[in-house]
Symmetry: C2
Subunit: 537 residues, 2 copies
């Protein structure tokens, strides 16, 4: 470590990550290798052989959910090949199970056809003994988390035999909201890339897909009320759009994995693409006394803007079942508003003087009220709170903190105002940076601010943001995984049990190989290998 690091020196990596080289030679224990770490886990060296031909999932007799429960029936089907990764022989109907190993699932409240939502319980208990694993959960969503944990307890030896150790788990998430944002406006993401991300999210126990579906560059959401929005605002009106069927498929795929779909229709800024299919919506910018031909944010001075938004959000809130809706509200540039005589006139009329933050607040207040009228909880980017704080916060409820700098100061301010917080600032994974950054994303302490217990409870979770400036289907997966897994453990697990990067490293290396084995293009953390390398190129 004394030597100066020469640029380009391969040894540099080793200096920075000397400890990793040390760890690499340690034997990775397969026992306890559940990622993210359960709240309580204990296991013994007693291990049981699992035979794929003598393995069953079944409902306990007293379970509310029984055969026919869509969420669990499909989970059983999904987890069989995830557990027995190289078993291809189909099971025969007449097969005789002498000593089947059975995963018995008991669910208190069957919500088999519901959607996971903000207040869904995800807790579960798992007890793996000889011949049986007992999985108990309040809800099907908790049962899904338990199945994922069980699947990660199973491992193969060098001869291909499957084992599971005697294990007891009691588990629940530290934070209720554990999200990943994908941006389908800066680059269009084909459906398969979104579905694959949902798969990987479920392996990591993420539970919110924040779909930043539209923005300045393109409007791929095919609206049934306003079809011109995508017809004129998408990169291509047929190939680069999400049809209603596509959206339904995403929501269904997410639901079966216990993942909420939180749609964001960001306004009044970030709306350039909206203007193409909805003339009159955006503010015409002026150069002196004449329109310059360019447009700014949504025109907050026109009543018709709110009429349009009401109709659009009526559609959107019926398409997306989640109780939350993301209204954006970030990065509004006032230049164009200031240039426009109508907007200036409106400012005067409203008594806003020259404080355009009041105009932005006025606009967002209207938006929050529109969605409130549609029975949705609005979530907004912190900008709205930053302006609003001075004015009124009555209608705000959830604020997403995204700016860098002292983000915990902002968390403190927002919670002090009694509002809920989702923390995104430290998890901007689209940002370029050293590959071994996972440790940076791991050592984030979302509650390390001075505040009351009540304030801490208002931090409902966090979110990984994968903005699309430099990301599309070609590099989404390796940029997201396994770095997002670091955030996943921070958001699910007990901080005291998971504070050490050194302890986490071999577990994450192991988990990353598991992701590869499941077809997720997760990049390596450092020198080494997986038994099954990625074959998908």
């Amino acid at each position: 470590m004394e030597e100066k690091c020469i640029s380009n020196s391969r040894r540099c990596y080793k200096q920075w990550f000397g400890f990793m080289v040390l760890i690499m030679s340690f034997c990775v224990s397969y026992v306890d290798a559940v990622w993210p770490m359960p709240q309580m886990i204990s296991s013994s060296m007693a291990r049981y052989t699992l035979n794929p031909r003598e393995f069953l999932f079944q409902y306990s007799s007293g379970s509310s959910a029984q055969s026919g429960c869509s969420v669990l029936d499909s989970a059983f089907k999904r987890y069989f090949p995830l557990i027995f990764t190289d078993y291809t022989r189909p099971r025969q109907h007449d097969e005789w199970f002498r000593f089947p190993f059975t995963v018995v699932v008991h669910v208190e409240r069957a919500e088999c056809e519901d959607y996971p939502d903000a207040d869904s319980s995800e807790s579960y208990k798992l007890s793996v003994r000889s011949g049986q694993a007992a999985l108990r959960a309040e809800t099907v969503w908790g049962a899904l988390r338990g199945l994922e944990s069980f699947s990660q307890l199973v491992y193969q030896d060098d001869f291909g035999e499957y084992f599971v150790n005697e294990t007891e788990i009691e588990d629940f998430p530290r934070f209720q909201f554990r999200g990943i944002l994908l941006d389908t406006s800066r680059h269009y993401l084909p459906l398969h890339a979104i579905l694959k991300t949902l798969d990987a999210m479920s392996y990591n126990k993420f539970n919110v897909f924040h779909w930043h579906i539209v923005d300045d560059p393109s409007f791929p959401y095919q609206s049934s009320t306003f079809p011109d929005l995508s017809r004129k605002g998408a990169f291509h009106p047929s190939t680069h759009v999400y049809t209603q069927i596509d959206v339904k498929r995403v929501i269904a795929h997410a639901r079966l994995r216990g993942i909420r779909v939180l749609a964001e229709f960001d306004s009044p800024g970030h709306t350039q693409s909206w203007g193409k299919g909805q003339p009159g919506l955006l503010t015409p910018c002026y150069k002196g006394t004449v329109p310059s031909g360019t447009f700014g944010p949504v025109n907050p001075a026109n009543f018709s803007s709110y009429q349009f938004m009401t109709r659009l959000f009526k559609e959107v809130t019926s398409v997306f079942p989640d109780s939350y809706i993301h209204l954006g509200g970030d990065e509004v540039d006032f230049t164009c508003w200031k240039s426009n005589p109508d907007v200036r006139g409106f400012m005067l009329k409203m008594g806003f003087g020259t404080d355009y933050t009041k105009l932005e607040s006025y606009y967002m207040e209207n938006m929050v009220n529109i969605t409130k009228g549609l029975n949705k909880t609005a979530i907004v980017w912190q900008d709205v709170f930053d302006y609003h704080e001075k004015l009124c916060c009555s209608s705000l409820s959830v604020v997403e903190v995204w700016k860098g700098g002292c983000y915990l100061c902002e968390v403190r301010r927002v919670t002090k105002a009694g509002l809920r917080v989702v923390l995104a600032s430290p998890w901007y994974l689209d940002q370029p940076g050293p590959t071994h950054d996972w440790a940076r994303y791991y050592t984030i302490w979302p509650l390390a601010f001075k505040g009351t217990e009540q304030q801490k409870k208002l931090v409902i979770g966090g979110e990984v943001c994968m903005w699309g400036e430099y990301v599309d289907a070609t590099n989404l997966s390796p940029r997201l995984w396994p770095r997002a897994s670091a955030a996943a453990e921070r958001l699910w697990s007990d901080e005291r049990m998971t504070s050490s990067v050194i302890d986490a490293y071999p577990r994450l290396v192991d988990f990353r190989c598991r992701l590869l084995r499941r077809g997720i293009q997760a990049e390596p953390l450092f020198v080494g290998h997986c038994r099954h390398e990625y074959q998908g190129i």
Copy 2:
């Protein structure tokens, strides 16, 4: 640009790359869209329709190469679907070509069964007129480059029709050596990942695959002379090795694309994995007067080391046909040598005093002589020159400059000593960094040092290095492409015609979409879309 860039601000990107946003709205011209830019290209607006069912490659009557020429026969087969990307209907034997468009290829010297090598000509002339493209080249390697250029001249309109414009090209590479290094020791790269990289290299007119095949972490090369090297030194003796068949396949795949395979067996450092299968090869390190149990570089004091190397390199130089062999020689840590009493005794005997650079030089001199005896030109990392400079340079001939800092100072020193240079320093693409780095790799001027014309001529080329600490098959392609394409143009094209990042940007965006269409997982440069997005996840 006046505004301070807030961390996490999406607008930051736009500030940095404001000019790109401007460019994005420009129409990308499909004419002249050959990457890397030919030395001379002119085209008119006259365009001809190409019909895949009436399209032929053929040899000119006076061409030395004729039907049966393996390199060109297989290139014709390969380029048909690369040109007509969505044409699936097989051609019928009885099909009647009324007005076939014919690419007529004329080659001066047929070297159809040879390997491309250091002195192979790659120049070509291409003339596209009504109904015919005439392609003339000295060698089949030049013809390959011309076919690639022709394939890039063809474009599709919105209705799927294919066109090519009237075009004249006279082309040759600026530098003879245009390489990409892959590291298969820090992570094992499955064969398909290497072959895919060779495909992409040929689209970029790269012509040297520098195969850094072994290193400290693993020894995947399956030696027939010393099978224990991979049996004990690979990550896995069966799944994580390159068999002789694998190596032959890589060399054959490369040859058909006009790509040399330059193997590197780096020593005396970077050899930890060698020690496992070849006891006695590495220097035992001492703690005081007793061996510590760890090992250092190859033991330069043992005659048996040179005997082993002679046998190994005899095999290696017969397996790899290229006239170059890379001997490594970088980053030798003297600590272990210094601790070992036998090595100290040898130093005394040789009169090296305490200058271990003399010992390193002595070792490398022996290695260079061994390979010279096997009729190979040795290439070494700059470290060898840096030590050697003071001693003697008689046996050195090609030096690869890789260290950061003032690398052109090093290029000047090496060429002043009359040695040839391959420049790698500015193209370490494995290094983490902002995604829009391509511009950094583009604006490299390898000859911008003070030196004679003779010195400039000694700069034979450059190389992109993709070290494997953080890279395997999951992220190799998006990390390499299209950033390596920036280096490709610098190494092939006229610097005066390709000095502007702004001019290059829309061409590279277009070329990157072409790479996607050909199945190369090339990441995006900025916001936007390709007609055909990547579907491979």
